[in-house]
């Protein structure tokens, strides 16, 4: 039931409504009638208890990390420390206006400065800007910098971005947003980039190559050095999609792989909460030659009379910047959470992230393989994630990857990513993350085994799943055909 349907005309949560004393209509006279609204918008008319009860109950219809194992590949659904959340919620941070003068912002700015330094170290890049508000915006910033670089050099013929076919959808979409054409590059059977294909594709039109490593196939691109030199030799730049940084945190730095520019997803690698679809944060890091183009503002540090002082570096300081990407300074609160997380982990902790994420993934992959599931790349090490393909089961039993995914919900596990990357048929992309125990992983494997048995003995249990959720499978076709995107009265 919608909150609208719980309302009743004239009901309200009056403790939240400013008393009318402060809102005499005499003052409104100063606004001529033509500017005023004459009808009232239809919003719910409910009591405070109704609101609390409604949203409490809605929340209970969600799976979440706090409630369930959530091995959603490529999304790094790991524990979001409550301490980081609390640290970012201290009133002094929460009430700070984004345009407060620098001298009333030193505490906040110091956190950001420190975070910039940490991220540089972790990625091996020369400079970092924290402003992009999610991975995709980080990608935008990165490719826009590549473009600015070529443009400034008068290199106008570079109109293409190369992208391996397994890439996340944001990569090609970003390239287009930045005015580029996309050229796809194939993948070999081993999961590495098809070097021949790359060499054929690269050329004077190549502005750059976007890739993530480990790739979205869950394996580390072993020829990365050769790829880098191939692209660089052709005059292109290398973009690193940092969504999979968790896999290699502290183990290998994108800068050392030869990347010129990257973004990180703090809402993945730095454990800031995903919030049911955001907010995120996608800082960008660059090598020396792209530094002049970084998006602004950035926090700078100077020593004044022996004292550390932080100040905003903006367009005046970075005149060739690609510009601002948000009204203020990005998702500041998420940056604070990431800073808190990094502080809690420290340098050893950071290193362990990659280690145990990788350990969990390889253990889980092995156990699933032993249980009879087919790994997409059985001869490769799993990075922090790996792919199971159920095309065999689909063919033989008529039970698809989607059916497995839905049935997992009944077993109390969130489904892995399904049907991505598109390259692998009937696939599940599984990422356990380092914060899960061996017991959770074993439990998941047991559920997969049980579902496989169901699929063999009683497939309708699987194809009709889920049955324990608030709804059964939804009619997506109807949703798209008979668009119902907002409640209207009289329904």
């Amino acid at each position: 039931m919608l909150i609208y349907e719980k309302g009743s005309s004239g009901r309200n949560a009056s403790a939240q409504i400013p008393t009318s004393s402060g809102a005499s209509s005499a003052a409104l006279v100063s606004i001529p009638a033509e500017y005023l609204r004459t009808d009232a918008p239809l919003l719910p008319e409910v009591s405070e208890l109704q609101v609390v009860r409604h949203f409490t109950n809605l929340s209970r219809k969600n799976f979440s990390i706090d409630g369930e194992f959530y091995p959603l590949g490529s999304c790094t659904m790991k524990y979001n420390p409550r301490g980081a959340h609390k640290a970012a919620s201290i009133p002094g941070f929460l009430n700070r206006h984004p345009l407060a003068p620098e001298r009333h912002s030193q505490g906040f700015m110091q956190c950001l400065y420190d975070l910039q330094e940490y991220l540089k170290d972790l990625t091996g890049m020369q400079a970092v800007s924290l402003t992009p508000m999610a991975g995709a915006q980080g990608e935008f910033a990165g490719v826009a910098m590549i473009r600015a670089y070529h443009m400034e050099r008068g290199d106008h013929e570079r109109t293409e971005i190369l992208i391996p076919i397994a890439a996340h959808g944001t990569n090609p979409a970003t390239a287009v947003m930045c005015g580029y054409k996309v050229k796809e590059v194939g993948i070999s059977d081993s999961g590495d980039v098809d070097l021949d294909d790359l060499k054929a594709a690269v050329g004077p039109a190549t502005a750059g190559l976007m890739m993530t490593n480990p790739s979205t196939l869950g394996v580390f691109e072993r020829q990365i050095k050769e790829i880098a030199s191939t692209v660089h030799d052709a005059g292109g730049l290398l973009y690193y999609d940092g969504a999979n940084l968790n896999a290699i945190l502290g183990k290998v730095k994108p800068g050392d792989m030869g990347f010129d520019v990257l973004h990180m997803n703090l809402h993945k690698t730095f454990a800031t909460p995903h919030g049911g679809g955001g907010p995120g944060s996608g800082p960008v890091g660059v090598s020396k030659r792209l530094e002049p183009y970084l998006p602004t503002p950035i926090v700078g540090r100077q020593i004044v009379a022996g004292k550390e002082e932080f100040r905003w570096l903006d367009d005046d300081d970075i005149p060739r910047t690609i510009g601002h990407l948000s009204a203020f300074m990005g998702n500041a609160g998420i940056l604070l959470r990431a800073y808190a997380y990094a502080s809690l982990l420290g340098k050893e902790g950071m290193q362990r992230v990659g280690e145990y994420a990788t350990l969990n993934a390889n253990y889980m992959a092995r156990r699933l393989a032993d249980a009879g599931f087919e790994l997409a790349y059985p001869d490769r090490r799993a990075a922090h994630e790996f792919i199971v393909t159920l095309s065999e089961q689909t063919k033989k039993l008529g039970v698809t990857a989607m059916d497995f995914a839905k049935r997992l919900l009944d077993y109390g596990y969130h489904a892995p990513t399904t049907y991505f990357p598109l390259l692998v048929p009937e696939c599940l992309l599984i990422e356990p993350t380092e914060t899960e125990t061996i017991d959770e992983i074993d439990g998941f494997v047991d559920a997969m085994k049980a579902i496989l048995e169901e699929a063999e003995t009683n497939p309708s249990l699987v194809t009709n799943a889920p049955t324990t959720m608030p709804v059964k499978r939804l009619d997506d076709v109807k949703a798209a055909r008979e668009l119902d995107l907002a409640w209207r009265p009289g329904e």
Binding site: I3, Y35, L36, M177, L474, A480
Partner: protein
């Protein structure tokens, strides 16, 4: 090992199962020569206790007594229930609702959000949010270029009294697609756009016009006339609005005869703390006929196999994960949690409540204007109606005055010179329902002293 649950035994079992001797072996596909050395800039880890101590210390440095800065982010009362609910793990730690059956909470909430925000804006449909108000405007500009098939110019007019930061962001984002932004100058007496100014574009192919009201100076634009001009010539209208104002002021869906085509803004005033600038969220509404050009997630209501009502992501063919290079935008993660907060805020306040907030903001702003008459050397710069924000012209350089006020931990306003170099003695002052009479008196006293 913070947050890593592995015991030595666990690790042993796992390594044995995999068939390797050490975790190090799992990285053997990474070429030796690129393996990372020690991290140099990151200190050793600290406990939560030390973290809180450090962060409390830093946060305390930034505390002020009173803040009159608005300029796109506004201090409002946020009901305690809002963040108590939003912070529930089930909202906070879920992801994008890809598995609809296990995400009905988030999905229904977004549907309710879409319902409410379209009511406030008077528009047909809404998406589930974009990053912030500024990037919403950039997306709206790109969308308008896609939607206005008749226009070939890729030229967008920007009413120059709009938020200069939004202008900058839009510029950063759209310039890669050969879109040109031209500014409509504002009248230096009213601080708003004279519709007559548009005449100079009468003969040009203009794809869309961006109208911000209340504008950056708090002034109300003549949105009906501007909209009529645009629609009369096939130009799409992009409205930039403040959601709190919309319970009081004419919403974009009612501008002119047929309403704006796209309406965007920042949702921050709807229950989101100032928080140094984010996370906030950008909202984005449009007319039904161009919904397929909208970027971002959209939730639809449908039924399940048994005919029960349910909610799901829909029109996904617009999005990057399906359409890749042909998507309407690259946006993926948006600002879900903030949308949750805003939805709860709107539910608690209701139309009457938001109207009361808007009225209170307005009345208190008027009160400040009244009190200003007693201050020598400070007066409103513009004539004309305003909403909760106004420009004050000072008899001294604004920077000095604001510095003097800041000494007393009062942030007296936004220094307009930061965006308009010529406005050296002007400040932009915001007053919301949070400012008591006493607060206004404190402001006046402090301002007086600073002007001596």
């Amino acid at each position: 090992m913070p947050f890593i649950p592995h015991t030595l035994d666990d690790e042993k079992i796992m390594l044995e199962t995999i068939g390797v001797d050490s975790i190090e072996d799992l990285f053997d596909e990474i070429p030796r020569e690129i393996r990372a050395g020690e991290l140099k800039q990151i200190p050793a880890g600290i406990g939560e206790m030390e973290l809180m101590r450090k962060m409390n210390f830093r946060a305390r440095k930034d505390e002020v007594a009173l803040c009159f800065i608005g300029a796109g982010a506004y201090e409002h009362h946020i009901p305690a229930a809002v963040w108590e609910l939003v912070s529930r793990g089930e909202f906070l730690t879920a992801y994008t609702p890809y598995q609809a059956e296990a995400s009905q909470g988030t999905l229904q909430l977004i549907y309710e959000f879409q319902s409410m925000i379209t009511q406030l804006t008077g528009m047909d449909v809404s998406n589930a949010s974009v990053y912030d108000g500024a990037s919403a405007l950039a997306e709206a500009a790109l969308m308008a270029v896609r939607a206005n098939r008749k226009s070939k110019s890729r030229t967008i007019l920007f009413a120059g009294s709009g938020n200069p930061y939004y202008r900058k962001v839009t510029q950063s984002i759209v310039r890669n697609q050969n879109i040109e932004i031209q500014d409509i100058p504002w009248n230096s007496e009213t601080g708003t756009i004279d519709p007559g100014e548009l005449q100079r574009w009468n003969d040009e192919d203009i794809t869309a016009i961006v109208i911000t009201s209340p504008n950056f100076f708090g002034g109300l634009e003549r949105t009906d006339e501007l909209t009529q001009w645009a629609h009369a010539r096939g130009t799409l209208v992009i409205a930039v609005v403040n959601p709190i104002s919309l319970a009081l002021l004419k919403p974009p869906g009612q501008w002119g005869d047929s309403g704006a085509d796209i309406a965007v803004g920042d949702g921050q005033p709807l229950g989101i703390p100032l928080a140094s600038g984010g996370p906030y969220f950008g909202f984005m509404c449009c007319k039904q006929n161009i919904v397929r050009q909208m970027p971002g997630r959209i939730v639809g209501r449908t039924v399940d196999l048994e005919g029960r009502e349910g909610f799901t992501l829909t029109l996904q063919a617009r999005e990057q994960h399906i359409r890749r290079a042909k998507a309407t935008s690259n946006i993926c993660t948006n600002q879900g949690l903030l949308v949750s907060a805003a939805t709860i805020y709107m539910s608690l306040l209701g139309a009457n409540g938001i109207n009361a907030v808007a009225r209170s903001c307005h009345t208190r702003t008027r009160l400040l204007i009244d009190k200003l008459t007693a201050v020598k050397g400070a007066e409103p710069l513009f004539s004309g109606p305003v909403f909760h924000e106004l420009v004050i012209k000072l008899s001294k350089p604004a920077g000095d005055v604001l510095d003097a006020m800041a000494e007393q931990k009062i942030l007296g306003g936004f220094e307009l010179r930061r965006c308009f170099p010529e406005m050296t003695d002007c400040i932009l002052v915001n007053v919301t329902e949070t400012k008591t009479d006493e607060d206004l008196n404190t402001f006046i006293t402090s301002l007086k002293q600073a002007l001596i």
